[in-house]
């Protein structure tokens, strides 16, 4: 019970922090507007006919998954900032299991990401994406899974970073290529072998494809848009989630104490 209380407390703190951070809330709205509006609009106008499917839902689902994944990853990495301004010291000297701290943090950052995912859905509808009720529900449920997965990826990344400076240097390097390799922004159905390999080792790929697999289920475009079967994506994502979480937390805790 104590651990569950602690997990919820740590999670709630992140949500409170978001609600107090206007800048982050506004930015959370501007990015999807930019990407869905500009990227989706331009690709729709120029490439849709050649590809043979509607680009708007393609970009919409890609941005949705990418935003949730990335937001949670970066939220977890903010533990480093917490450490530098010393709040994490307070958490780490409390008698709560380290796994609970990390899990609470993932839960908190996931709810933060979900709050940021809502404007994406609203804006998508505004520009003409027409999800059915079951598609909407699917997006919300799969969104939670994507957040948890992104959080676990964040823990593993975090456990290998020393300070804010290395965050600034390393994080763009591991996130930015994934935007493209995962197929969030551009189709990656056909890739040259080296890029295919890179795409397959990008965790974000499975998050994005899982989201699209759910969204496009039963639609005629499924075969053109979705890369792998939903079940395969789900198994890979779940497996990676467990590995990232356990390895990341173990490494993180060890590095914290064995300095």
């Amino acid at each position: 019970m104590t651990e569950i209380n602690a997990i919820l407390t740590i999670a709630y703190r992140d949500l409170l922090k978001l609600l107090g951070d206007r800048q982050r809330l506004v930015l959370g709205f501007i990015f999807p507007v930019f990407f869905i509006g500009v990227l989706g609009g331009s690709m729709q106008a120029n490439l849709a006919q050649a590809a043979g499917y509607d680009f708007l839902p393609f970009i919409f689902t890609g941005i949705f998954a990418q935003t949730l994944f990335q937001s949670t990853t970066q939220g977890i990495i903010s533990l480093i900032a917490d450490r530098e301004n010393d709040f994490s010291q307070e958490m780490f000297v409390s008698p709560v299991s380290r796994y609970s701290i990390i899990f609470g943090k993932i839960l908190g950052e996931s709810s933060v990401a979900m709050v940021q995912g809502l404007p994406i859905i609203l804006f998508g509808i505004l520009v003409g994406v027409r999800p059915s009720a079951s598609q909407l529900l699917g997006l919300l449920l799969i969104g939670i899974a994507v957040c948890l997965f992104g959080g676990a990826f964040g823990v593993l990344t975090l456990s290998n970073l020393k300070d804010q400076r290395s965050v600034g240097q390393v994080v763009p390097l591991i996130m930015f290529p994934q935007f493209f390799l995962s197929g969030a922004f551009v189709p990656v159905k056909v890739l040259p072998l080296p890029l295919e390999i890179l795409s397959r080792v990008s965790p974000m790929r499975y998050a994005v494809d899982l989201t699209r697999g759910t969204y496009y289920a039963g639609l005629p475009e499924f075969g053109k848009v979705v890369l792998d079967p939903v079940l395969l994506n789900a198994v890979v994502a779940a497996g990676l989630f467990v590995i990232f979480l356990v390895a990341g937390t173990t490494l993180f805790v060890r590095n914290e104490r064995n300095r």
Binding site: L8, D86, F87, E90, P95
Partner: protein, 316 residues
């Protein structure tokens, strides 16, 4: 009663370091005491406190807090200790009371509720009582962002006491505080110790703060170089002496020689006070004195003498 803190042969070498940050120290602290760890910057005080509070693993040695091993029973240790870090560790996005509430929940004292009024009555009473002692009752709802340095320290003390720790660790807690806030802080801590019997483990640069300690250790370069009560350290290392002078200094000088009293001559005559004390000495001098100035060493004198001595030892 067994010691509440037992440290045995503690060694810490940081990764990639060439020397031990803590180099085989041992000490014990009795329950309810105020224990002070003194030493210059880089002596290993913060490293020691980090190991004692389980945030850092020792390289070698044994540490037990309230009977629990810091390595094997870290969680049990954490439950028994409260910590005030060198740098404040509050969440500035939250209000003062939210910081306390989160702490209380993390320590498993109360279930989490979204509002202060939703929290159990026992929690609300404990917070209000402590806030009254610390004179912070009107600021509980304010964001920590708006707090001054003194208020932040007070809030940290309230937070660290909410779970009734057996040992309260304070790592240079008064750094950056004005003298008024510093004195208040000590009055509050004294009250807490009396009321709850809390053991206080303090590291500090301020010697006058350590004067109140029951027991203290002086550390430098990872080793303990002196240990005892403040009075013991003073008397062992710095002697009491009296400075005297007379109109007729030559007469005084020869009289002291006749009496067999040793002295050194500077602007005044300096006589070390032996077992006889000042009364005995002054009674035996007949030459009319114009100056009598008694010098009792402070802990600071003792501290500087100890640190100075070690540095001399190491350079020779």
């Amino acid at each position: 009663m067994p010691p509440i803190i037992e440290v045995e042969g503690l060694v810490k070498r940081y990764r990639k370091a060439t020397a031990n940050a803590v180099d085989g120290i041992s000490f014990a602290v009795e329950p309810g005491q105020l224990f002070a760890l003194l030493g210059p910057n880089g002596a290993g005080k913060t490293t020691t406190i980090s190991i004692l509070t389980t945030t850092l693993s020792p390289t070698d040695g044994q540490v037990r807090i309230a009977g629990h091993d810091v390595q094997r029973e870290a969680s049990a240790v954490r439950r028994e200790v409260g910590i005030i870090f060198q740098r404040p560790s509050l969440d500035h996005n939250l209000s003062a009371e939210q910081n306390i509430r989160f702490h209380a929940v993390l320590y498993g004292l109360y279930p989490f509720r979204f509002t202060f009024s939703g929290m159990p009555a026992a929690y609300r009473k404990a917070v209000l009582d402590l806030a009254a002692v610390m004179d912070l009752q009107d600021d509980l709802g304010k964001p920590v962002k708006s707090f001054s340095g003194g208020m932040i320290r007070k809030l940290e003390i309230i937070r660290s006491l909410i779970h009734h720790p057996k040992v309260l660790f304070l790592d240079e807690p008064t750094i950056g505080l004005d003298p008024g806030s510093r004195r208040n802080l000590w009055e509050y801590l004294l009250g807490v110790r009396k009321e709850h019997g809390t053991t206080v483990f303090l590291t500090t640069h301020y010697l006058e703060e350590a004067e109140q300690a029951h027991d203290l250790c002086v550390m430098t370069k990872g080793r303990i170089i002196a240990r005892g009560t403040p009075a013991e350290l003073r008397s062992a290392l710095v002697e009491d002496y009296v400075l005297v002078d007379a109109q007729d200094r030559a007469a005084l000088r020869s009289e002291l020689c006749e009496l067999g009293v040793s002295f050194t001559e500077g602007p005044l005559l300096r006589i070390p006070l032996g077992a006889g004390g000042i009364q005995h000495l002054l009674k035996s001098i007949d030459t009319p004195l114009t100056t009598v100035r008694l010098h009792s060493p402070t802990l600071e004198d003792a501290y500087l003498a100890i640190i100075g001595q070690t540095e001399e030892d190491q350079t020779t």
